[in-house]
């Protein structure tokens, strides 16, 4: 029996994480070569492996070092972390809601964070304060959605989805209102640009915020990943198996909200990543969440890095990454829809 259980594992499932990690590392190094100032791959590799990345101290006279470590490195790190967080959140949310068509944005967190960010830009707050207010209001939106859902008496999944729609719609209208009130020459362009989503203003401070949140919430999410299998069976069955359904569901959603709020606060609206990447991961390792969550995280990092590379190098002027992820995400999703709907995830 012992030998059997080892044999039974899918051959791809065990080596996929390792290959994906190598792919992330290579893609990150390649991303560091992209940009106006040419730095060859070999130089990038040498600079990266001789500098401690978190607290970059080095030769500020040396242009390639500054470009790689001060300009490009924070952006690459930020993109990777956000991609991982979003994809992991999406995979968790799809499990919690037993629905592969939901994204991490479902509970109104993104809209709340957007409102906070726009308000902070209106108030001419410094960049870090924008991040802080966006993060705070994202969590406030989640709290509001939770409270609304509680009003229905039983905190069902459907109640929360509807509450998320209400909160999201309300925040969206306030964002619109602020935009019409904004000074059209100075404030409006920066609001619009921020809302479209971009990693252009990446700094090590932002990296620290996202890394801290991702380390905490991401680790907790990964630790809880087997429990998502149980939740995805549905309330009655999960309860009968001894799962504290309510507590687990709220806990997971809180962690997802942290990850999403962190991402929106540093880079504005980046949609579709959390929706699509879990599907790609499912094609690779199957639907089981102990394998799905890590794989989604790695794939999310790769996907968003690739998108960001295109965003900053495809045209003369940078394309907002939010536009790119939607423009690329929608057709990919349409393809997945066509490809997988016969395989059962549309089943009622």
């Amino acid at each position: 029996m012992r030998i059997m259980s080892k044999m039974l594992r899918k051959p791809g499932a065990d080596c996929a994480p390792v290959l994906l990690l190598i792919a992330i590392a290579l893609l990150a190094l390649f991303s560091l070569t992209l940009g106006r100032y040419p730095v060859p791959f070999a130089d990038v590799a040498r600079i990266v492996f001789t500098t401690f990345p978190i607290n970059a101290v080095g030769d500020y006279e040396n242009a390639p070092w500054v470009v790689v470590e001060i300009v490009r490195m924070p952006r690459v790190l930020l993109v990777t972390l956000c991609g991982m967080g979003l994809a992991m959140s999406g995979a968790a949310m799809q499990g919690v809601f037993r629905n592969p068509l939901v994204g991490p944005e479902i509970a109104g967190v993104s809209s709340g964070a957007a409102l906070g960010g726009v308000a902070a830009i209106m108030l001419s707050w410094p960049p870090l304060a924008i991040v802080g207010l966006a993060f705070g209001s994202g969590l406030a939106a989640l709290a509001a959605a939770f409270a609304l859902a509680r009003l229905t008496g039983r905190a069902s999944t459907l109640a929360l989805v509807l509450s998320g729609v209400i909160v999201g719609g309300f925040c969206g209208s306030l964002v619109g209102l602020l935009q019409t009130l904004a000074d059209p020459t100075v404030k409006l362009p920066s609001i619009v640009y921020w809302l479209l989503g971009s990693f252009a203003g990446a700094t090590y401070e932002k990296v620290a915020i996202v890394a801290g949140v991702t380390l905490f919430a991401g680790t907790a999410l990964v630790a809880l990943r087997w429990r998502i299998n149980l939740l995805s069976l549905g309330q009655t069955d999960a309860k009968a198996l001894g799962v504290n359904v309510e507590a687990l569901r709220w806990g997971l959603m809180g962690l997802v909200a942290l990850l999403v709020a962190a991402q929106v606060s540093v880079s504005g609206g980046v949609g579709w990543v959390g929706l699509i990447v879990p599907h790609l991961a499912r094609m690779l390792v199957g639907p089981e969440h102990t394998r799905l969550l890590p794989t989604s995280a790695y794939l999310g990092g790769i996907y968003l890095l690739a998108m960001d590379d295109i965003a900053r190098s495809a045209t003369e002027q940078e394309i907002p990454i939010g536009l790119l992820t939607s423009a690329v995400g929608a057709p990919i999703f349409a393809f997945l829809f066509w490809k997988t709907q016969s395989k059962g995830w549309m089943r009622e």
Binding site: K10, L233, R347
Partner: protein, 267 residues
Amino acid sequence: MSEPAISLTNLGYFYRPNQWVLRHCDTRVARGSVFALLGPNGRGKTTLLHLLIGALKPCEGGLSVNGRIAFVPQLFEVTFDYTALDMALMGRARKIGLFSQPSRDDEEAALAALDRFGMADYAQRPFGELSGGQRQLIIFARVLVAEADILVLDEPTSALDLENQSLVLERISSLARNDRLTIVMTTHHPHHALAVADDALLMRGQGDYLFGRAREILTEDNLCSLYRAPLKRIAFEHEGREIETIAPILTPTQMARHHSQETIGAE
């Protein structure tokens, strides 16, 4: 007699105030026995099951359940197509810590349980691709993995073909005899109840319940008045064994009328 696995005292439930679905229900289910719930639709069979597993709370009276309950819904559908092994493994939820993942031991316990039901070869097959009967067996394996004492089944044979019906009934019987599990099942097939159940409860209407030994209360009279359809209880010998079964009587006039309607419909 030892303490019963389940006892209901004056149990009542309504979904809307004073529209009782279930009322004045008293029953005791002995440990290690198979207990069948019979009755037409809308008499509260499923409500009673949901009360037993704790998904609903009684509005009146009380119930005591001594042991760990596992529930097997009528048709087990999954949103995500986990493998049979992953499904069986979920029975270990109580043993695996909140922040932990299943270990090799857990996996082997699940495989051993699948093996008990002859499903070890299907361990890596997607659950959704299995037949209804095979799915039931996987869920039975999960019950063993969960080390439950009481198994609650909602119409375990309703979605199955004849071969799988007898397979599932045989396993139900074996779980009670060999594993000393207490089994509560609803069914629309009185002959299934007669074949496997020790005790039965006929749900005739609110406050009108007949409880007793299955062989004694599954009589022609009781069943005919319960279902308002003619039935015959038949005994015969098969391979040296005395077999008793219940068959519905489809009268020639009914069949002829049915047939002529079909012919008219075709024209």
